[in-house]
Symmetry: C2
Subunit: 356 residues, 2 copies
């Protein structure tokens, strides 16, 4: 199979993990006789340094000419003082919108080898943590109007949070379809006692649910959900929610698995072209030290093979290799525990390559 | 001391807890020779049933004529289908705004007797959980414009999230003042990489912090904060944040203490008149069964004595009584564990009254 893969090297320690993920992809390429072309793309801090813009249109165009895009993570203290439009994060938001990636899938799953790293009690973890948050990614307050103006002699800022029916319907469908492939439970999270957008979500979801009679559908307020994720995470199968709530809840959900350095994510739109990236950030504090965990990025590459290129066997191969290396007791610093073997980013990548 | 106390009996199981809290207040009244007048106020579902409006202006006026107001909790399935303006919650929001209560204080604190009930691991709990979330209560998306209209043949909803400098400054001050009375650490939580309102919060807080050089001030993104509350809650002393983030984070924070049935809250404005209520909801599923935990409501009454009436000794007296009853092993169902003595709502209230 011939594919063009966009590679966003990202900022700070991101470069180190992307390097390992690309090594893994190259290994898969050889083993299965595929031919992947890697296109370097600058986005975030790197693009600001190069072009004074976190996502110049020529870089977005490159992404759109690829079959899929792999990303590490962006941002860092160097770019923190910049105004809204010039921040690294703005590049990511524009990339999501420019590629039409409305559906962000964030699995929250315990790796048995790392179960001890969860901040939750064993009795809660033992009931199982294995759910997916389907987050709407290019609507809501992230993409509404933002403005700051003077009023009565002081500044006033207003962010607006818009949602229209078709935006809700397309992500709602992904929620139901995801549930159908899993345990057929879908929970929609909102704040319908306060927000008009949430009430519109309820209306559209109520219409959609008729098309999925097998799915056990429920609704939950976001404040309650933030509690339930700590209290009783085993109740969840698939959660679908709007952009901002999805941001907050998926971070909480990844934390309770105790393995945030292990969690990949996919962002997809209507076609098969996607953006694949770890859940974690660019970890500026440990950049250049060869201690960052490359596994979330490597698993993101695996997700790309599976969901964008339909290369299921290849994806499984990577996951098995990761599993094997963990079983052999190798750990990066972030997941280190007693009696395990501490390795750096490069060595972890190499171990996984060797397994493949 | 003579005081007029507004009493909102609330909906579902709320009535049962308010009854116990009023009994406790009456006991304090006698013991310390105060004279409290209790004014019944209808708000929420009860007001909808009586007047077709969750907070008629005559009921708000009654609140404004009182020295302070005690509330249980409102809402329930009976009123769920109603349109936005007619919901029980709207009464609460209008009450907060009408009384000018911009500062909501929500303590997250482990009760040593209930430490086992936390969903977090013992090693995390043992480091200590004792922080306060200061939530802005009458601004942001709760009080912005909400609208739904037709556009391009479909419905579109927009919620707007406004903040102006004076709204941020007054709550920011409360944040710093609260930190000064505690361990002098203040963390402001926002989403400044996305929201204009958050960037305005940063500007105002940066100005304010100069007036509090002793306070160690930091900022954190809301998604990261949702993780940190699970991972390392002992890092927090005081968190200050906008309305919606405060809603989500304070629920998560109360959950990790494992004692949500024990957590009171205060809402204050510029004067001493406040609204005091438990963090938990109206628990419709257990209404009328005499099993709801009245302690959060009783402790809310204690907070009222302390913060609105400056009756510190009386407040301490109530807290001590609660502590003693817990030490004697009495528990309501929600906090029941092995070898403890199960009691109902009424008996729990009576035990606390007896202690006083
Ligand atoms: C970097 C930031 C804008 C982004 C978001 O909030 O979407 C990040 O937190 C994420 O979740 O991918
Ligand atoms: C009932 C609801 C509107 C309210 C809120 O979101 O403020 C509640 O969740 C709370 O936190 O007091």
């Amino acid at each position: 199979m011939q594919k063009k893969i966009g590679v966003i090297w990202g900022d700070c320690s991101s470069v180190e993990i992307v390097e390992q993920a690309v090594n893994v992809l190259k290994t898969i390429e050889k083993k299965y006789s595929h031919s992947f072309e890697y296109i370097d793309i600058a986005m975030g801090g790197q693009a600001i340094d190069l072009y004074g813009d976190p996502l110049p249109s020529h870089e977005l165009d490159k992404c759109l000419s690829c079959d899929s895009v792999l990303l590490g993570a962006i941002g860092g203290p160097k770019w923190e003082g910049l105004p809204g439009e010039k921040r690294p994060e703005k590049g990511l938001l524009r990339l999501r919108a420019g590629m039409g990636l409305y559906s962000n899938n964030r699995p929250a799953k315990i790796w048995p080898q790392l179960a001890d790293a969860s901040p939750l009690k064993k009795e809660i973890v033992d009931k199982g943590i294995d759910f997916i948050i389907v987050r709407e990614l290019i609507g809501g307050v992230y993409f509404g109007n933002h403005e700051t103006h003077e009023e009565n002699g002081e500044l006033k800022a207003i962010d607006s949070m818009p949602y229209s029916e078709h935006e809700i319907r397309r992500i709602g469908k992904i929620g139901f379809e995801t549930a159908m492939k899993r345990n057929k439970k879908l929970c929609m999270v909102d704040k319908a006692n306060v927000l008009d957008t949430s009430r519109l979500w309820r209306k559209v979801m109520d219409e959609l649910k008729k098309e999925y009679p097998e799915v056990e559908y429920s609704v939950m307020f976001v404040d309650n959900c933030a509690m339930q994720i700590c209290k009783n995470p085993s109740q969840f199968d698939v959660i679908v929610t709007e952009n901002m709530f999805g941001d907050i809840l998926s971070d909480e959900a990844s934390e309770i698995t105790g393995s945030i350095g292990m969690i990949p994510s996919s962002s997809l739109g209507d076609g098969t072209r996607g953006l694949y990236e770890p859940i974690h950030g660019s970890a500026p504090d440990i950049a250049g030290k060869d201690i960052v965990n490359p596994i979330a990025c490597i698993l993101s590459a695996a997700m790309m093979l599976q969901y964008s290129f339909d290369l299921k066997e290849e994806a499984k191969d990577i996951e098995k290799a990761v599993n094997a290396v963990l079983n052999q007791g190798y750990r990066t610093q972030d997941m280190m525990s007693e009696n395990m073997k501490l390795v750096g980013c490069k060595q972890m990548g190499q171990l996984i390559v060797n397994e493949i």
